[in-house]
Symmetry: C2
Subunit: 406 residues, 2 copies
């Protein structure tokens, strides 16, 4: 019987714990919040398609029937490798035989942390609700404003970063402005909204095949999003974004440009990459400590010098892999092998791109595949049913339900 | 064509506006928030049964197809009766031919406003989410606490006020503690929770027939709620309630003891009752101003010296009644007649009481009637479907979905 501590209840931590439930080991799962969040759909909370509870489940609830799993809502302050202890901010100390660190990533402003209050990122439910409120209030302000120039500022939306989150946000804001709200206002037309997607490199969605990236860009343009590539952001203030070429005044600025790993990893005193991720060994453990694992977005796991991407399938597979090592107390460990099922991204209502090995999908078919896969991976029947209903309603009626300012 | 301003998008204001949509009149509906809230189910948001968006709809959405209705999110500062103007806090001024004031009620601390930060009431979505977070965090703290005395403080829940809201809250917290969370914790049993319902008068639910009130009390006791009547609250501090007989230490204190009308009504310079409600004439208008109406919880409408209760059916019927006067520009007006369909209250999972005229219902049957009626009165198919699904899931699996701390 081993004492196992898992830090983080995201895809990596939760899946590791699930595969250790109902064993003779003692599992302690620590998370800052009380829920597991299905992050791939978080942008839909930020854009009023879904409610937070549609994509989040209490972690306790997942383990209610497994007495060997204890769940603790708490904040880990540091890790003492040598004495095998985890110390919480509340000063509580827990000792472990095995430690699994799955603390994920947070958004990074590349040293410009002063931009954060003006351009929120999208990692937590609070982040999503803040963005939702900003978007909805911008339209309310536009309705109250009589000066056309000031009104345009309310109706400008700038998304910084052309990765999947940025693309999904921009497409979804275009849906709100050009489809959902079209009949809701009397003093202006919601078509006046301008949605900018700013990307520093020369294409959006760089992790995809070039052909697909171009297709995605084409979809975005068709939906009315102004996509600007090769344009670096130089400054962000309360209501403006300065790029190399332009100054855009906007109430709503959303940051989707970069990630960095949790600062907790620094307390490990082991080698980190530029994003603060731990360089792990082929068995996901850290140097000189075969009983400490780092998995998911917190880990830099290289295959041929290229790190695995920070996506759910990697986290889930690493979680399962580590659970097997711990369960059997393995000394000789086969390397972790990532089974790449492919990647996908969705653009607005009814378009997506997907690639798996040599196969590529685009358009409505890809969007249906995206929808189905995301439904299947949601945890629990309740969330599947609720999300399906919200999607069907928002698809058929062009309405977004949770459009609430409170 | 008349200019009509309606202040407040609750049951009264919304129903008045709905019956003036698609007429030749110019309607301006002003509300502080952007949504109509189905307040009878708000306690279920506070107790993690429903998500906010299950019981709230954007007001704009209700009127999207009626170009004669403008919706404005704004805060009214005062009303100028003589010049027929409404002045917003933003200093904007709107003039009216008819004014309908439907600003509802807020909780009242009977002059003890210093209690508010410690004992939140339940009127808005934010109120409900604050209470939900308090309840959920209390259980998380109990799991972390090793000192039994301190733990009991986390596990004490005090609801002040034995009206429908207080009874529904107490019953629903009992559900959480004694049914939903029973398998979720490892360091204590959620059965250790103690839920107090404190009422100053000699019975809970005094608006019901005595037999039914007693039945409700019996149900509460069966569910484990400690009901104390004839016990006045003398003081509330951050974590304690002092009554005439006892001092109860508790993290979670909920205020459901009193209401007062919106302070805006004072700017009308007309006669108010002790709760700050406007004494209205038999046509719901105010003295000397037949073009200004006050309806719903903001109004004191007497029948034989007894004011109508502050419940949704009164508000809905008054809203419709006033819309008819305005629509036809009636000079000779029949008195408003309240059609009393009865009253009902629910207690925990599967019990309720209801009375309509001489008929009384209790138990499961009353609870089914309560559920059905509340579903039917929810606005829109989307909310009906979502609420039904959440109810069925929470009934069958004894789980509450939106148990989120963020």
């Amino acid at each position: 019987m081993a004492k196992v501590i898992i830090i983080g209840g995201g895809f990596a931590g939760l899946n590791c714990a699930k595969h250790l439930a109902n064993t003779e080991h003692d599992i302690l799962l620590i998370d800052k919040t009380n829920h597991h969040l299905f992050q791939p759909l978080l942008y839909q909370v930020a854009t009023a398609v879904l409610s937070p509870a549609d994509i989040a489940v209490p972690i306790r609830d997942v383990f209610r029937n497994y007495p060997n799993v204890k769940v603790l809502m708490g904040d880990v302050k540091n890790i003492d490798k040598t004495n095998q202890k985890v110390i919480l901010k509340s000063k509580k100390v827990f000792s472990f035989d095995y430690l699994v660190i799955a603390t994920g990533a947070k958004h990074s402003y590349f040293g410009k942390n002063e931009w954060e209050p003006f351009a929120g990122g999208l990692k937590t439910i609070s982040d999503a609700l803040n963005i939702r409120e900003k978007i909805l209030i911008a339209f309310e302000k536009a309705e109250r404003e009589t000066d056309p120039k000031k009104r345009q500022k309310h109706l400008n939306f700038v998304v910084v970063g052309g990765g999947p989150t940025g693309v999904e946000m921009a497409g979804s804001i275009a849906d709100i402005a050009y489809k959902n709200l079209i009949k809701d206002f009397r003093n202006f037309s919601s078509k006046e909204a301008r949605i900018y997607l700013i990307e520093a490199s020369d294409n959006i969605l760089p992790m995809f095949d070039g052909e697909l990236s171009t297709k995605a860009r084409h979809y975005l343009a068709k939906f009315g999003v102004i996509v600007r590539t090769n344009e670096r952001v130089l400054d962000i203030t309360k209501q403006s974004v300065t790029t190399e070429n332009d100054i855009i005044e906007a109430d709503t600025i959303i940051w989707a440009a970069g990630n960095e790993a949790s600062p907790l990893l620094k307390t490990l005193n082991t080698e980190l990459d530029r994003q603060g991720r731990v360089l792990v060994k082929p068995d996901c453990s850290i140097k000189s400590h075969p009983n400490i694992f780092v998995i998911g977005d917190a880990a830099h796991f290289s295959i041929n010098e290229i790190p695995l991407p920070g996506i759910a399938p990697v986290a889930i597979q690493q979680g399962k892999y580590v659970s097997k090592i711990i369960r059997k107390n393995k000394k000789i460990r086969p390397d972790f092998v990532y089974f790449d099922k492919g990647i996908m991204a969705t653009i607005g209502k009814s378009k997506a791109i997907a690639q798996t090995g040599p196969f590529k999908l685009t358009g409505m078919i890809a969007w249906l595949a995206w929808s189905l896969i995301h439904l299947l991976y949601l945890i629990g029947y309740r969330t599947k049913v609720l999300v399906l209903i919200e999607w069907v309603i928002s698809y058929i009626f062009n309405k977004k339900g949770p459009r609430l300012i409170y």
